[in-house]
């Protein structure tokens, strides 16, 4: 088969499926997120990284331009697909977070799979939607300690879940041998 550098249908399909697996898991365990909300102490922000973990995992696996953005779009629209719940906000947020990850990956030229890159992408995605939240949720009018709590939790979650956990999952997946099938092939003779 002719090797193509751009995204092939298989790449896109694998990316979307990865995102949908996360969307599915999220819709099962998403109750936790909502259950943490009523306290208003932003404990739910600790799980915020789950929203964009798909982008980081998909990038680590496929390592091609555009993958993070597609994964994030798919994960966001995954809610519509899995739960039949259409939320424009989610999709707008997803696209922004995907773009933030994409920028980080572009900086390392889509090569590195180190933990630091994953963490950087997670933090970038966590920070990317703050301006929008600021307007939407009137965060400027929140008590300062509460705002800092939310901010801290979100960045921490971006680093730990979207960065650290994503990298751990990537290592685990590598162990299963399934990654030989997909993505940028380092050597042509890497067998199936």
């Amino acid at each position: 088969m002719v090797r193509k550098n751009g995204l092939t249908l298989t790449d896109v399909l694998v990316t979307v499926v990865i995102a949908l697996v996360f969307a599915f898991i999220y819709s099962i365990w998403g109750g936790v997120y909502t259950a943490l909300e009523p306290l208003g102490l932003h404990l739910n922000q600790l799980l915020y990284g789950m929203w964009f973990i798909a982008a980081v995992v998909a990038y680590l696996i496929i390592r091609k331009p555009g993958v993070a953005l597609i994964a994030e779009f798919a994960a966001a629209s995954g809610e519509t697909i899995v739960m039949l719940q259409f939320d424009v906000m989610l999709i707008v947020y997803g696209l922004i977070q995907g773009l933030a990850c994409e920028i980080v990956f572009a900086v390392v030229k889509y090569k590195s799979t180190s933990l630091m890159v994953a963490v950087a992408a997670g933090v970038a995605a966590a920070l990317s939607t703050l301006p929008l939240d600021w307007y939407y949720g009137y965060l400027g009018q929140l008590a300062t300690w509460n705002l800092l709590l939310m901010f801290g939790f979100r960045v921490l979650s971006g680093a730990l879940i979207a960065g650290g956990l994503a990298h751990l999952l990537y290592q685990g997946l590598k162990g299963t041998g399934v990654l030989k099938l997909v993505g940028q092939k380092a050597t042509a003779d890497e067998g199936l």
């Binding site: 909300e37 208003g40 697909i81 707008v92 008590a143 685990g172």
Partner: protein, 263 residues
């Protein structure tokens, strides 16, 4: 699945999916820019009316849906009600400090979510998921490989769900035999998700190769399912714009909130 709970079809069914999505994005921007709670109050009411009239869904499901949307909307705005800044105190309890201003602001944030959820529900009830991708290819100029990859992946969701259930049952049966850490905690999480991911990647890879060799790739193609723009799209856009304007007028006429700026 959706057809089962609908009892009539409406003109909204014939609106192009791209129009609906663009209108939804426009509505999102409009809602973020609205600071008058009275305006938003009437907008959420009118959106509910639109949902009831245009979705064609049986009323008892709509009641259930509305209750859920209101409940989750309230929960997600509690942080502002509890900890928002304000001067006229209503209640102080430990770190919780509820003021008049923060309550109005909290309700305002909740109504933003409610407006978008109502419109989102209308879109879901009147749109076929595959039509979204067909119209994105035919009118939106999306490359076919992206659209077909998405559609194929969507068909895999039930398989993923099935696999997850199998995995859970297998664990349930073996529960007395294996260590607890493989069921709960990080180990339990990672074994579940890595299993699901690796199986899905394998399946997606096989399907992807098959689809590529059958020509589901880029290039000129013809379609069996056709979507198009029509006069109904224009009417739909006008309807939503008029709703936003009309709700503003209503907000001037009847104001449930004393303030006109939630900030």
């Amino acid at each position: 699945m959706i057809e089962a709970i609908r009892h009539y079809s409406t003109p909204a069914d014939r609106v192009n999916p791209i129009t609906k999505i663009l209108v939804a994005v426009g509505l999102f921007l409009a809602v973020v820019l609205i600071h008058d709670p009275n305006h938003l109050f009437h907008l959420s009411l009118l959106m509910l009316v639109l949902l009831i009239v245009l979705s064609g869904v049986k009323i008892r499901y709509l009641v259930l849906l509305t209750a859920t949307i209101l409940f989750f909307g309230l929960i997600s705005s509690l942080y502002m009600i509890f900890y928002g800044e304000g001067t006229s105190t209503l209640l102080r309890f430990g770190i919780v400090h509820i003021t008049e201003e923060s309550t109005v602001r909290g309700v305002h944030i909740m109504m933003r979510g409610v407006v978008l959820s109502f419109f989102g529900a209308l879109v879901v009830f009147t749109t076929k998921l595959t039509d979204v991708f067909y119209s994105m290819m035919q009118q939106g100029g999306l490359r076919p490989k992206f659209a077909y990859a998405f559609m194929a992946a969507i068909r895999m969701v039930p398989i993923i769900a099935n696999e997850y259930m199998t995995l859970r049952r297998a664990r349930k049966v073996r529960r007395p035999l294996i260590h607890r850490k493989y069921i709960s905690g990080y180990k339990g999480f990672s074994t579940t998700i890595i299993t699901l991911l690796s199986q899905s990647i394998r399946r997606a890879y096989r399907l992807g190769i098959a689809m590529e060799s059958k020509g589901f790739d880029d290039g000129p193609r013809t379609y069996y399912h056709r979507t198009s723009f029509s006069i109904i799209d224009l009417l739909f856009i006008m309807l939503v714009i008029l709703t936003v304007i009309f709700s503003y007028q209503l907000g001037q006429w009847y104001s449930p909130f004393a303030t006109t700026d939630a900030r």
